[in-house]
Symmetry: C3
Subunit: 352 residues, 3 copies
């Protein structure tokens, strides 16, 4: 009999080492079934992902899988190894979508520990990982850095190392678009896509209220989070959660990102591809029963070197709970508006 | 920068014109994933749609997509353009299913404005549209008329036209069955289909209690409605809804239709295809937490010219909330029984 | 017009006969969509079912459908004929998975009445059936016995027969593994599968706490149960249920089995296949809002004759509601711990 425990309690801060590489379980074949469940939960309407016919007309071999579904599946694999004992998911950086994923592709994930920093209280520490998602051919489909605050198993354990990596605040336009084939902009039908506004129609500083709101149910976020095979317990266990800090289940932060992305269709219907995420902050927790609204600001508009088909818009999307966004709630003085739950900084592609 | 607003607030009564044609976003490839989500939400058991093997034995190339799922997806596309500012969805007429839809087909929708009538209060008006759904080959799969009451943006705006179209009260048998291939009635296995009763076993006036009830949850109707990419806000936004007329989210009327259709299996298991909808009325709103029951009456039984394989039954299906249907609740004096939520008049096909 | 009633009220005790064979409606093509909905509801992470690539590397042609999803679909078909009037689902025996099921396969089910026993109160009786599930080629994929207590329609009806069948308490190792192709154990990647522990690493008597808990929502168990086309009314009808014994909807017993199986990944990640169920008892009802935990004990470890690739572990998995399992709650004196809801005795396969 093996001496290793059968039940994994997850890793604690002192279990990580700089340079350590972790291959994650469980490989996952993504199917049109996963896409349908995702569509039922979030209702995205971007035409490229919705229609094989539309996708082919603009240059894809068929409708690709929604970028955020790819992100959530890759992220989900890392949870049992990286963040089962997380106190907080602190941030994301340098997230780039590198290759389109299609139904039938099988995803797996590998993480490298690129930073460690014990907190001064010696009870917790921050782990930085670079996670890469791969398809069945070994091609990299996604790469991102995230950092989480983890508990130590033993407060007296020596820090496992100390290095705070330098991370880019944003991703340069030259690094965008890798997952997007050449787009036939003449074949891109604005009417079917739902908006006359293409890349050139947006200006930096423009703010758009996405207007609609969507209430979240416990069944929904649990179905979504299980679909990603994300096992973080605080999303699923009301019994334990009811005795804890929030008194209930906490919703996976990625749920708010997907809700906000779907809402953003009203204003950015032609932003058919999320090509990169510069950073994101889950400003406040989201719980079932609350209604999510969102608005976005165009932070930048960039050409991508050697591409005349698409341009990149850098967006800040702010999501709120139980708070309409017609007046673009964001920050007051030094802090976020108390209704804000998400501050996401990302690049989308639009046809020119 | 384009001057058109980025966020669509939907169309108001005075935005429509007689003869106007609207091509709707977003094309949608229907997959076995969509079918599975639909099955999880409604639990239909009609053998033709459930089994590729059964479908092939009777003459289909494979299991077709449930007729009502096709209806909901086509309907959903029209919402952002037609009914985002609807006060009420008043009725349907002349709805015919024209071609079977299979997983892999891509649906899109086009509507023609065929009628306009301002109400005497000048605050609202009624818009009549003929909506057609098409597959990726441009073949028409569905055609129906609906009329909705819309708010005016500006009460002083001139009426955009006035024409109340003549609509058929029912669809003639000669127009039925277009989406149904020739059925091999000898290959149709009554036992696997769940009932010994074929077309000839029903008589006009016969009433059938479907007996079971099903409670609706908010997560369910929202997942369904998003699956159809139907964006009507009152189904999703509890925050705004809680301050409104009903104090909560209102369930998409089509949800009750699908629930009633699934319940009707117990009594009409061999009604394998909804071929047309003569008309339908959402008599009262449905909310989460209520339990839906249903019963049906055979209004007519008709042969279809030149077809010996199937006959058509015209059914009235009544759905109720929190009310058993053993005594067939319908109308008392001039009004509906207060428990009735749906009065649907439609044609189904049954093997002879 | 046929004289048989159109609405089925289900069978009562006196409607069954020894030796009677019942072919059940509705045949069902299982798709990757069904798999995705199942994954969203239960979050299984066993690599063989999750990944086509992993499945091929170990010897399957592609990822097979989760064994319990196959069980639930076959079981669901029997409900309208066998258990619509069940007072209680008393037990299972001799359940063997005989052939792997893949997306695209069509399942149907046939039951033989193998036992009948009227209860002394003459109001109810017990019916024993052997149910077999078949694929589209007529190959048997699953076989099991279950017995249910049914009401009599007429208390004065004569007992329809009396025979209590002898049922095996457990299934011999020689009968295991029929649905499992030869496994290439060298191609089985422990890291991707999520655990270093193979067959030889477990010892009889070993207990494992699966540690995590998952709360059940009404929307979830209804979606699952409809996905299986299981029509037992007490799972769906809150209106009637609120006036009954439990005051609410009762969750399908199989829901707890699937939850426990998914939780058991943490401890038995390489138990990639449920090959047989010796018996199971739904010790107490489960309701929405409760949180399910689970632990397992290794009851036996057996070689399978002529197979060197995999071994069989006999597990008892205990699921509880609102009760952590670190101390392995099971029985106190002669009765189960009041938190226990499920006692399942089954065989899983693990690579050697």
């Amino acid at each position: 009999m093996s001496k290793a425990p059968k039940t994994s309690a997850g890793n604690f801060f002192e279990d990580f080492r700089l340079g350590q590489q972790i291959r994650h379980a469980t490989p996952r074949t993504v199917t049109t079934g996963d896409v349908a469940v995702y569509n039922g939960l979030f209702g995205p309407r971007f035409a490229v992902q919705s229609s094989d016919t539309f996708a082919r007309a603009v240059g894809y071999p068929r409708a690709p899988v929604d970028d955020l579904l790819v992100f959530h599946i890759v992220f989900g694999k890392t949870v049992p190894d990286i963040s089962l004992n997380a106190v907080a998911n602190l941030g994301y950086a340098d997230c780039r979508f590198l290759k389109a994923v299609y139904p039938g592709d099988t995803l797996n994930a590998v993480s490298d520990v690129i930073g460690l920093k014990e907190n001064s209280n010696r009870k917790t520490g921050i782990v930085y990982v670079r996670t890469r998602g791969y398809n069945q051919d070994g091609a990299e489909v996604l790469s991102y850095v995230r950092w989480v605050m983890l508990r130590k198993r033993d407060e007296n354990a020596a820090p496992p190392g100390e290095l705070v990596p330098e991370l880019p605040k944003d991703i340069a336009p030259a690094k965008l678009g890798a997952a997007c084939p050449p787009i036939n902009t003449a074949g891109y039908d604005n009417v079917l896509a739902g908006s006359p506004h293409r890349f050139g129609d947006y200006r930096v500083g423009e703010k758009v209220d996405h207007s609609a709101g969507v209430t979240v149910e416990d069944a929904e976020h649990m179905i979504a989070t299980r679909l990603y095979q994300n096992t973080a317990r605080l999303h699923f266990d009301h019994f334990t959660g009811s005795q804890g800090r929030f008194g209930r289940r906490l919703i996976y932060g990625g749920h708010a990102i997907s809700l906000a992305r779907s809402l953003s269709f009203n204003g950015f219907a032609n932003a058919f591809h999320v090509t990169a995420i510069n950073g994101g902050r889950h400003v406040a927790p989201l719980f079932a029963g609350l209604t999510v609204f969102a608005w976005s600001e165009v932070l930048a508009a960039a050409d991508i070197p050697k591409r005349n088909d698409v341009g990149a818009l850098r967006l800040r999307t702010i999501a709120t709970k139980d708070r309409l966004c017609a007046d673009f709630p964001f920050r007051s003085a030094d802090d976020y508006d108390p209704a804000v739950i998400l501050d996401l900084d990302y690049w989308v592609l639009m046809p020119k």
